[in-house]
Structure formats: structure tokens, C-alpha cells
Symmetry: C2
Subunit: 244 residues, 2 copies
């Protein structure tokens, strides 16, 4: 499995993805699931992926082939709006799965993939989209400024409780790391290194950072989260009905 | 859906269950999923249930019918050990589902149920068991002193991070409430009132308490959890690679 999340704030966007892939517990690997693309000077995108690794790799290869073709076809460089980029990504995804459908059905494999696409085209507002395997999409909203794909349940409380659009990019990054750590701790199929990309509105560039498994900051932040949780328990009011 | 959890500590056991049942979002009800049984003076049990409501109700009715029969059949009053109580519960569960299998298959419904059974038989150690729909069981361990059924993912971090067997019953109760609130907040299919049962080793009685939706303590504890999470974010060390 996988855990990827994106948070859209007034100030910009935070993207965070794990890198663990598994085809059974005896076949664990590390693959990048967060990809930064800058297909033209007026635009910058992040694509995050969950689901079938072969599908996500072929989708990315097709994106790059389209960009290199230069024959007037639709590409991430030609779309005028971000939702068109989401639909383009959805179309490639359904085409890739469709091209392998018979073989996949024969082996009982699910070849589908789900994506988050976010970023900005100059002159447009920055946005994030969740692209379903069916090729359609939803976007984040002001009241629910985040999107998640993969193992979304374990770390949802961080986003529910702590995220709102006015949070700054550094606080949102900490929330994203908290959500990721809660997920990775509960679920072996999600794990470090974690890939982070932070986007400041209208910059058209991403601050990218890979958080390694042995990162001192990661260890410190995880230690603090645990201590805060335990200290918080001590500070809670006594249980009024307790017989103890 | 449902969320039930049980934590086995050196001092005793904490059980907590929600009460929301749903057969579609237009058919929401409140049903007790935590049942205290005292079938004989030398034993006390809690049974928590998740899954098909008709199955769990018929299983409980059969338990009581067996107890009333007095004809030498196996009952919760006759079993010598807790694992035998778990197997007895598992047998009833598979029998009930089996008796409705054809009709359930016809409508495509899943009639299965999963249970937690815990408590003590005098002379035995207190224990908690998770009883699968297949009728077999697992118990909690010293290193993983909790069991969950239903919507287990949203609140798992509380248990993973904060529970160990040396925690006292009041702290474990707060952890259980934290886990329940995180789940109910993320998932509409889990909701109050919450039923709590606390067992102190060798007492053979449960402290029972229903935490109502409008409980002041529940509101206060939820408010504190959120504030602690937000305050904690402020206290985290600065992100070393931040460009902000």
C-alpha cells in the first residue's frame, strides 16, 4: 500500500508521500510516488500515485512521451487549466489499464491507480485534485483542504483536527508528517523515506525534500508526538464516574 | 459500522463500545454492543459485537436460552476456561449465520459477526479474546494488550502509542476514549453514546458507565485533545530544511 496526502493552504500546498511498495510481504521495495514536473515555464505540477506500480510508471512514461512528441497533441504543457491536467492524467490512467485489461483479468490483478495532481498554471489559482481510476476527479475545498490516497484512515485525525487553510506551510508540513508517522507506525505497508514537496503560491517551483528513515528530525518529531500524547493523558481531568 | 475495543492491563480490563448501527445512511439507530454477563457467581464476562445486528442479537438470545435450559448442555456457566467460552461463542455465531446462509446469500447480505469476549473465571487469569466469524479466536498479548473490532484504523494510533500493560485503569479509560473520539470524528458510522465497562482483577464485577453524547466530560476531553494536538504543533522544533 501507500499513503500520499496533499494540503492546500492560503499560502500554498504541501505534498507528502511514502515510498514503500509491496507485492506481498516478501517483496518490499522503495519507489518514489511523488513526482515534480515542470513541463513549461508557466506551470509546475506534483503528481502523487497509489495503486498498481506498473500502471503508475507507464502513466508517467506516457506523460513524458507526450511532452517530447511536439506534434500538437494534448500534454501537460498544452492544457490551459489545472482541471484539464487532471482529466488528461485520468485519461492516460484509464488507457493504460485498458491496454492491459485482458491480461490483468486473467491473473486476477487489479491494475488501477489513483492520483493526486496539484500545482499551478500561471494566472490560475493553485489547486489539488484527486484523480480516480475511472478518470474523473474531485478537488479539495476550503472546509476540507486536504486530499489523501492509499491508506487514508490511520492518519486522518491529524488532518481533521489540525488543518485549516490559514495554517502556514511549516505547520502544515508538521501536520503532514504527524499524519504520515501515525500511518507508518500502524501499518507496515507504509514506510520511509518520505518525499515532501512544498509549494508557495505563484512561485512555480517546489521546495523538495526527502526525509530519510534515519532522519534525526523525523526521530525527534516522532518522540515529541509520543511524549505529548502521554503528557496530555496526565493532564486530562479525572474521570468523574471512576471507582478507582 | 461499529468500533469496539478492549485493553488488558496488569490491573484489569477496559472495554469501550460505540452504539451506532446503520443499514444505509437513511437508517441509523442506537443499539448496545457491549453486554455484561454474570452467568454464575464464579465468573463475569463482557461480550462486544461488530457486524450483522440480527446475528449478534440471535447469538445473545441463544446464550441466554442455553443458560436457562438447565439440561447439562454447554453454556457460559459450564465452561471451565475463558478460551472455551470464546469457542462456545464462536460456535453459536457460526450456527446462527449457517441457519440463515441460503436466505442471506439470496439477498447478497453478509450475515457474519465478530466478537470480543473478556472477563474472568475465578481461579483463572482475566483475558480478552477476539472471536472471528469462522468461530476461532485470538487473545491479546503482553506486547499488544488490546483488541479492536469494526472500524479499527482511525483510533489505532492511541493504542499503539499509549497503551502498555502497566497503565492504570483510569489512564487506560482515557486512552480508550481518545481512540473512540478519533474514530467517531473521522467516521459517521461510529457514534455516541459510548458504553464503558471496567474490570478490576479478581473482582468478578464490572464498573459500567454509559457516556452520553451530551456528556460534559466527553466534550471537555475532546476539547483538550484538540488543544493538546495544536499546542504540540507549536512546540515542535523548526523544520531544519524549511525555506520559509
Amino acid at each position: 500500500m501507500t499513503y500520499c496526502l496533499a494540503i492546500r493552504l492560503d499560502e500554498g500546498i504541501v505534498f507528502l508521500s511514502d515510498t514503500r511498495t509491496s507485492a506481498g510481504v516478501d517483496n518490499i521495495s522503495t519507489y518514489r510516488k511523488l513526482h515534480v514536473l515542470r513541463p513549461a515555464p508557466d506551470r509546475a505540477f506534483v503528481i502523487q500515485s497509489a495503486g498498481n506500480l506498473a500502471t503508475t510508471q507507464e502513466v508517467l512514461d506516457r506523460i513524458n512521451r507526450d511532452l517530447a512528441a511536439g506534434d500538437g497533441r494534448e500534454t501537460l504543457a498544452t492544457v490551459d487549466r489545472l482541471f484539464e491536467a487532471a482529466l488528461y492524467l485520468g485519461r492516460l490512467s484509464t488507457e493504460v489499464v485498458g491496454s492491459h485489461r485482458d491480461a490483468l483479468a486473467g491473473s486476477g490483478a487489479d491494475g488501477t491507480a489513483t492520483f493526486i495532481l496539484g500545482g499551478q498554471i500561471a494566472g490560475e489559482l493553485p489547486e489539488i485534485f484527486l484523480v480516480y481510476p475511472e478518470g474523473n476527479y474531485i478537488r479539495a475545498s476550503k472546509t476540507r483542504p486536504f486530499l489523501q490516497i492509499g491508506e487514508t484512515k490511520f492518519g486522518k485525525f491529524w488532518l481533521e483536527l489540525a488543518v485549516h487553510p490559514r495554517v502556514d506551510l511549516d505547520v502544515a508540513t508538521k501536520i503532514a508528517i504527524g499524519s504520515m508517522l501515525s500511518t507508518a507506525r500502524a501499518n507496515l505497508s507504509v514506510g520511509p523515506p518520505f518525499d515532501l514537496a512544498v509549494y508557495r503560491n505563484d512561485s512555480l517551483v517546489f521546495d523538495e525534500h526527502r526525509i530519510e528513515a534515519d532522519s534525526e528530525y523525523l526521530a525527534e518529531i516522532e518522540d515529541r508526538f509520543v511524549r505529548q500524547l502521554l503528557d496530555g493523558l496526565d493532564e486530562l481531568p479525572a474521570i468523574p464516574w471512576s471507582a478507582g
